[in-house]
Symmetry: C2
Subunit: 305 residues, 2 copies
Amino acid sequence: MLPFARVAIVGLGLIGSSVARAVRQSMPTVRLSGYDADPAVRDTAIRLGLVDDVADQAGAAVTDADLVVLCVPVGAIGAVAGDLAADMPADVIVTDVGSCKTEVARALAEAIPTVTVVPAHPVAGTERSGPEAGFATLFAGRWCILTPAADAEPLAVARVGEFWRRLGADVEVMTPEHHDRVLAVTSHLPHLIAYSIVGTASDLEAVTESEVIKYSAGGFRDFTRIAASDPTMWRDVFLSNREAVLEMLGRFSEDLAQLQRAIRWGDGDALFDLFTRTRAIRRSIVEQGQDDAREDFGRSHDPAG
Amino acid sequence: MLPFARVAIVGLGLIGSSVARAVRQSMPTVRLSGYDADPAVRDTAIRLGLVDDVADQAGAAVTDADLVVLCVPVGAIGAVAGDLAADMPADVIVTDVGSCKTEVARALAEAIPTVTVVPAHPVAGTERSGPEAGFATLFAGRWCILTPAADAEPLAVARVGEFWRRLGADVEVMTPEHHDRVLAVTSHLPHLIAYSIVGTASDLEAVTESEVIKYSAGGFRDFTRIAASDPTMWRDVFLSNREAVLEMLGRFSEDLAQLQRAIRWGDGDALFDLFTRTRAIRRSIVEQGQDDAREDFGRSHDPAG
C-alpha cells in the first residue's frame, strides 16, 4: 500500500524536483502538486511536467494533500509552514528535507503547533541548484534520517519512512540533536572548510586566481565542487546549526594546529601515521556503497570528454 | 621527430606506470626500460608488460637511456639519483615528476651535479597507488610544469617539454620557488586539510566512526578521496615544501577564523558573499577543462552501480 496518495512539494529546486521525479518513478499513481515562491521556477516545473499541478499560491498546493514536503532553505521553513497552516487538511503530515533538525523542529512547532510533523533529512545532493538539476535516482542508496519528536505518532513516522524507502533511500531514526552533531562533522564542516579554502586561494598575492584555476587538478578542484553549492541553503545551515558547527570546527582547528606543528618540526612519522589511518576510512566508505568505487570518483579521463 | 628514443622509468607506481603506458601509446617505437626498488612491483610490471625491460638493479635500467624519469617520492629523489650516477650515459637528461621543485632541484644538484636535469611536475593523479593503478590518459589535458634552472640548456628543456606534450599534457615553465607556492595552495594545502578533517572525524566522542562513514555522502566523502592518497608521497611533500605549506596554512587559518566569527555572530551576509564568490571559481575550473563538467564529478547515481 502506498504510504501517501496526494503529495504536495513546496520548493522545487534540486531536492524538491528530485523528490517529484522519484515519486513519479516509484509511485506513479500518487497525485503530485507543487509550488515554488519563484515564478520562473514554477514555469520550469510546468514545462518539465514535474508535478500534476503547479499552484500559483502556496496554499493551493496543499489543500488536498496527505503529505506536504517542505523543500526550502532551513531558514525559511518556519515562515513557509506558517503561511500554509490555514490551507492544510487536518490529517496532513508535514515533513521537510532540511540539513539542520533542532532548529527546524523548533520552527515548525512554533509555526504549526497542531499539525503532525515528521522532520526528515535525505543525505544526498550535488553542487547544482534549481528544478532542472534534480533527478529521480538522487536518493538511491543514500540515507534518509528522520528526527521525530519523542511523542510523535509511530504510524506517521512509519509512513514517512516508507515514503523515503520508496524513493530508494535507507531510513534511520535519531534525535534532532544527535543528527545535528553527526551532520556537523560529515557535511557542514566539510562545506565550511571547502568554502574557506576556495576563498583563501582566490585571495592571495603570491599566486594569481588564474594560476589557482589552471593547476586545480592537484586536489583543489575537489574542494571547489562542494564550494559551488547553493549559497542561500548553506548560509542558513551555518546559522541554524551554529553550536554543533562551532564545536566541530574547534576540534578541527586543534587537529590542524597539531599537523602544522608536525610539519614545522619535521615529524614525518606523525604525518605518515595519520595519512595511513585516513586511507582506511576511505576504504570503509567505498565498501559500504557510500561513494563511487571507481578511482577519482569515476571522473572521465577521456581526453575528448 | 621523437624527443627521446630510449626512456628509463625509475619507480613504477601510479605515476611511473602511467608514464610507461602513455609512452607506449603515443610513442610506440620508444625503447622503454624500468626499475622499482620493490621486487613485487617489478614482478607486476613484468606481468603487465609495462616496459620492454624491467631491470633487477637500478643502474641496469639507465645505462642506455637518453631520458631518465624519476618517479619516486620526493624525499627519495636525491638518493636514487645518486645511486644511478655511475651508470648513466654522459649525454642523458634526467627529469622527475615530484610535487615539490625547490627541494628536488637542490637534491639533484647535489647528487648528480654534472648531469643535465630538467625537473618536471605533471599536475595529475588519483587516490590510488601502485603499478596497476596507472593508465595511459592520466596526463591528457592536464598541465605539466617544468622548473629548469636559470642556466638550463634550452634544447634539453624543449625536449622534455615535447615529451610531456606527446603524453597529452600542456606544458608550462616557471621557477621552482613559484611552482612550490602555486602547488602549496592548489594541491598541498587541500591534501593537508583533507587528511586533517578525516582524522578529526574519526576521533570524536559524540559521533562514532561508523556514523561518519554511514552519512559521508553529505560532503565528507569528497575529502576522504584525497585523504586516501599515498602516505609516503605526501609525508615527503609536506616535509619538502614546508615553508610554502606553512605560509598558505597560515592564510587559511586566518580566513577560517573569520568565518568562525561570522557564524558565531550570525553574520549571514558575510557567509552568503563568500559562498557566492567561491561558486564562480568552480565555474571557471569547469570552463577551462580542469574538471569534469558533469555534476558530482560524474559520479554514478545508478542504484545498481
